[in-house]
């Protein structure tokens, strides 16, 4: 009996779902988002990025259905470890809230290959890793988001996304 209670107790903790904070969305999908009552962090992907690479396309498709175990297997089966692979792996690790490994994976991606999302993820990871270490320098993070926004003044989706990031930081 005691063992059964212990197992139930253990299971109740092991079944606590991971809090997913970052969500991959294509620019088309972002057009249907309600930005007002929202605090979600979107990772915007242009069609060019999604459709030019099979590994990214498959990753995005599996992330959208939250098929994380399938995606893990799929990524582990990849032979070619190029920028596309590391970028796809970064998206997977971001979605799984494994920020330390996501940072290592992002480092392996060619610089400026997937802008502006690459810079956005870099700032997100800096924020999450700092927060994990108990260090919340939101002023510097906001400055980085502000600079990114100013580098893409005509990207409305990015502006909305960064406004939500500001909200997210404000409430964390």
């Amino acid at each position: 009996m005691k063992r059964a209670i212990f197992i139930l107790f253990f299971l109740s903790f092991s079944c606590v779902p991971t809090e997913y904070k970052y969500f991959v969305r294509t620019y088309n999908e972002l057009q249907n988002i309600n930005w007002e009552r929202n605090i979600l962090n979107y990772l915007p992907l242009s069609d060019d990025i999604v459709y030019e690479s099979t590994v990214i396309r498959r990753t995005v498709s599996l992330l959208q259905t939250q098929s994380f175990s399938k995606l893990k297997v799929y990524l582990s089966q990849q032979q070619e470890k190029d920028s596309d692979f590391y970028f796809a792996q970064t998206l997977y690790l971001m979605a799984k809230a494994d920020y330390s490994n996501a940072w290592l994976s992002l480092e392996a991606v060619d610089k400026n290959k997937y802008e502006p999302i690459q810079s956005l993820i870099s700032i997100d990871l800096t924020y999450e890793l700092n927060k994990k270490r108990g260090f919340n320098d939101y002023v510097r993070i906001l400055d980085s988001y502000q600079t990114l926004l100013d580098n893409y003044p005509n990207d409305n989706a990015l502006r909305n996304i960064i406004a939500l990031r500001t909200r997210y930081i404000r409430y964390n």
């Binding site: 988001y145 926004l149 406004a163 404000r170």
Partner: protein, 241 residues
């Protein structure tokens, strides 16, 4: 019977001190004032200088206050419901930055993006002087505490819930731009905003209370943003005429 006595004593004590409990909890955290400058940067001549000759704002309360708006009780034999509605006014003590400094910093940052002038600290050498006088500046909100108890024979079950409402803030200030003693323009700026509360699905009550405070500061920040953007636009229009 003993249980019932304990329960009603507890209920009485809790309801009497609900505003104090909330205030103590709110006083433990401080909310940030900031916003994202999302106006497109303007490329224009910034040789004209403006100094802020006067900035007065004593409208924001010094401390955050909580007061009871009303209390509803349904005391039945098998069912007991209590609801306490509290009104909260944001004070300077709950902000992690001085509001007046925040305003000046935001005005300076925005002027570097969209202003066709530059702000200077030197009042004597500036081409124009700007006076800003606040006559309204507040952010408030409503907080609710609810408890329900159902009695079945000698047993009872109780639920307790707290929730925040969207914050309401209002700013009103007058701005006067002068060249020497000549008044170039005077205008009143008014902004009011109801800022949606992000969610009420909280497991941690302290997080809910902290976010409730942040919601009021967010509302105040975004109202300031709206006013500053309008002010800079008006200054641009007037100094170039």
């Amino acid at each position: 019977m003993k249980n019932l006595v304990f329960y009603f004593c507890g209920l009485l004590l809790t309801s009497c001190s609900s505003s104090t409990i909330l205030l103590n909890s709110l006083n433990k955290t401080k909310a940030p004032l900031y916003y994202l400058h999302d106006t497109p940067k303007k490329d224009c001549d910034r040789t004209t200088t403006i100094s802020i000759s006067e900035f007065s704002n004593n409208q924001l309360p010094t401390t955050t206050t909580v007061e009871k708006i009303n209390r509803k009780i349904i005391p039945l034999i098998f069912y007991n419901y209590e609801e306490v509605n509290l009104g909260v006014k944001l004070g300077k003590s709950s902000l992690n930055q001085d509001y007046n400094n925040f305003f000046k910093y935001a005005l300076n940052t925005e002027s570097k993006r969209t202003g066709c002038f530059s702000l200077t600290d030197s009042v004597s050498s500036a081409d124009f002087s700007l006076q800003i006088k606040y006559d309204t500046c507040f952010a408030n909100s409503k907080y609710q505490m609810k408890s329900t108890t159902i009695f079945i024979l000698l047993f009872y079950g109780t639920t307790y819930e707290e929730s925040g409402s969207p914050a309401y803030s209002k700013l009103r200030f007058s701005a006067e731009l002068k060249r020497g003693e000549d008044v170039i323009f005077t205008k009143n700026y008014l902004a009011d905003r109801v800022q949606p509360f992000i969610s009420n699905n909280y497991k941690d009550i302290n997080k809910l209370r902290s976010d409730f405070l942040v919601n009021m500061a967010e509302s105040l920040s975004l109202n300031t943003k709206d006013c500053i953007e309008l002010l800079i636009q008006d200054i641009n229009d007037n100094i170039n005429n």
